[in-house]
Symmetry: C2
Subunit: 327 residues, 2 copies
């Protein structure tokens, strides 16, 4: 195997102020001969660039940047490609690997490539508005330049329907204004009009701005490419200027428990009956009592073939219940 002669580090800066860099990111920038990135990000870390070659690029030159990085690394140099947030999240990591593969690079070919993770916009923006990400969440980019709109629309619909907290990346640009309106329309098919929405601009940077609004009113907020839009799930609330998603689904207990009556010794709001084992017990009991898979699928809002597959398997309630005991 050829010894490594050069190195490319894909460095996530986090939200962008120097205080948000990790030690690993600082070290990768410090050891780099060449630092490549958008003008904005280069400016954010300008105090760390003394004596280095600096290559500033515009938004449309991403693949060029990857090629320049590879050329230098093959000549034995150490190159840091910087991204805001996390380099892997809609960032340079994907396009860079694609360019490297096309150029014949392999991990053993003499150029080391590593990725330095950072807090993505969803994390940084969430930290400024409270605790919206306590429950399952999605990130969806509204940029339809490389992604067909039906794909984006399906994801919006699926995320809204399945009650994910959602962060919209690239929500709107000067010319691309209707995507956010379509996103709102799709969400309103599933979520209440008063669902909390936070619009966070330039998190942890000088122009930081936070707007709280609702799903019904979000079009009145100032939304741009500099913002991330956080949409709460059906349990998210705003109190004292903080957007909170509670961890438990206590207030959903009745609706979700379906045929599973609480058993002796269960605490209210704790989902022993509606966790997997409890749900399996309830499902098999209801089926034995004459409910069809189609009816049960409607009750639990799950696909009928999934419910039927689960019901087709032998059911040993005692064993599963015992296994759950110690958790």
């Amino acid at each position: 195997m050829t010894p490594a002669t050069g190195k490319i580090s894909l460095v996530g800066l986090g939200p962008g102020s120097l205080a948000d860099l990790t030690g690993r990111a600082r070290a990768a920038i410090a050891e780099a001969d060449t630092v490549i990135g958008y003008v904005t990000y280069i400016r954010l870390i300008k105090d760390l660039l003394d004596g280095k070659e600096v290559i500033k690029k515009a938004m449309t030159e991403e693949l060029d940047r990857a090629i320049e990085a590879y050329e230098r690394a093959r000549a034995g140099r150490k190159v840091a490609i910087i991204s805001s947030g996390d380099a892997g999240v809609y960032g340079m990591a994907g396009p860079t690997f694609e360019v490297l593969f096309q150029a014949g690079w392999t991990p053993g070919s003499g150029v080391e490539v590593n990725i330095v993770p950072g807090a993505s916009a969803i994390n940084s923006c969430a930290s400024l508005v409270g605790a919206p990400l306590t429950h399952d969440f999605c990130a969806i980019s509204l940029s339809d330049l490389l992604t067909p709109w039906p794909t984006i629309a399906r994801r919006l619909d699926a995320a809204a329907c399945a009650d994910f907290v959602v962060a919209l990346y690239n929500p709107k640009s000067g010319r691309r204004t209707r995507q956010i309106e379509e996103a709102q329309r799709i969400f309103l098919r599933h979520r209440a009009a008063d669902t909390p929405v936070a619009v966070v601009k330039a998190a942890f940077r000088p122009k930081q701005d936070i707007q709280f609004t609702t799903l019904a009113k979000m079009r009145e907020a100032e939304i741009s490419m500099m913002t991330t839009v956080l949409i709460g799930n059906s349990n998210t609330y705003v109190r004292d200027g903080l957007m909170i998603t509670p961890r438990g689904y206590a207030n959903k207990y009745e609706a979700e428990s379906g045929f599973a009556a609480a058993r002796d010794g269960e605490k209210a709001g704790v989902s022993l009956s509606t966790g997997l084992t409890g749900w399996l017990a309830a499902l098999h009991a209801a089926h034995a009592g004459g409910r069809t898979p189609a009816e049960l699928a409607r009750t639990y809002r799950l696909p009928e073939d999934y419910v039927a597959a689960v019901l087709s398997e032998p059911w040993a309630a005692e064993a599963d219940a015992a296994a759950d005991d110690a958790e």
Copy 2:
């Protein structure tokens, strides 16, 4: 307004080694009189704890930790509550705010609360396997202790169907082994058996381990509470030991374009025809040509009421196309 007398910082450590701390996280720990966290995380930052009160807690004592933090902060102390990853993602931020609200805290009441973001497990694990998060992604926890299984199952099904890259948090514990099997079953309803899956254990810590597998074979991998499971979307591939999700949907172009034939001047693989404006044009043209909303909904795999709502609006193709030009 009462001046702040104490402070609670909810600090995300990132994956866990000291090199992964941000400057902001280090500063929050440095200024704290008291540091509270799980035994494991306290151990990770033990070199930063000289002279501080340290409160180690077990997994089940989360609310106790929030209460102890508040008691100390009300007495004027500075408290850091540490979490691995991001404090907001399935972390202490949510439960802490809930406890504080119950205790009568408000943002103006003399105890300042702030959150220091960090890279979550999805980011750290992704950075070690390649670039799986180049496209839209979800995080789903398989812990059904506080969440009803039907809610989790609906999210798994929605994420699998809408082609999100998915990170499964808390995939399996010693006693909770069937949830990951159900997740696999639900994913196999929508994704190919050879969909790439990465199982990452203890990212950036001494016991770090990475396994590549597929959706069909993932049950053979060693999965525990220490691991995060990354499932690729339909375009994700593994090459030379790297899991890559390409940015574009070039290979989906034909399938997604539906009735929208490429127009003169379009580049192949670029979704001008399938971005929102192009899709609207195609949709209206097909409707004018006699296709019903129901047929078009099936073609694009979108809800019929959404397609009907879009079609019910006046359509000015020229204006929208002009607006798209400059992007």
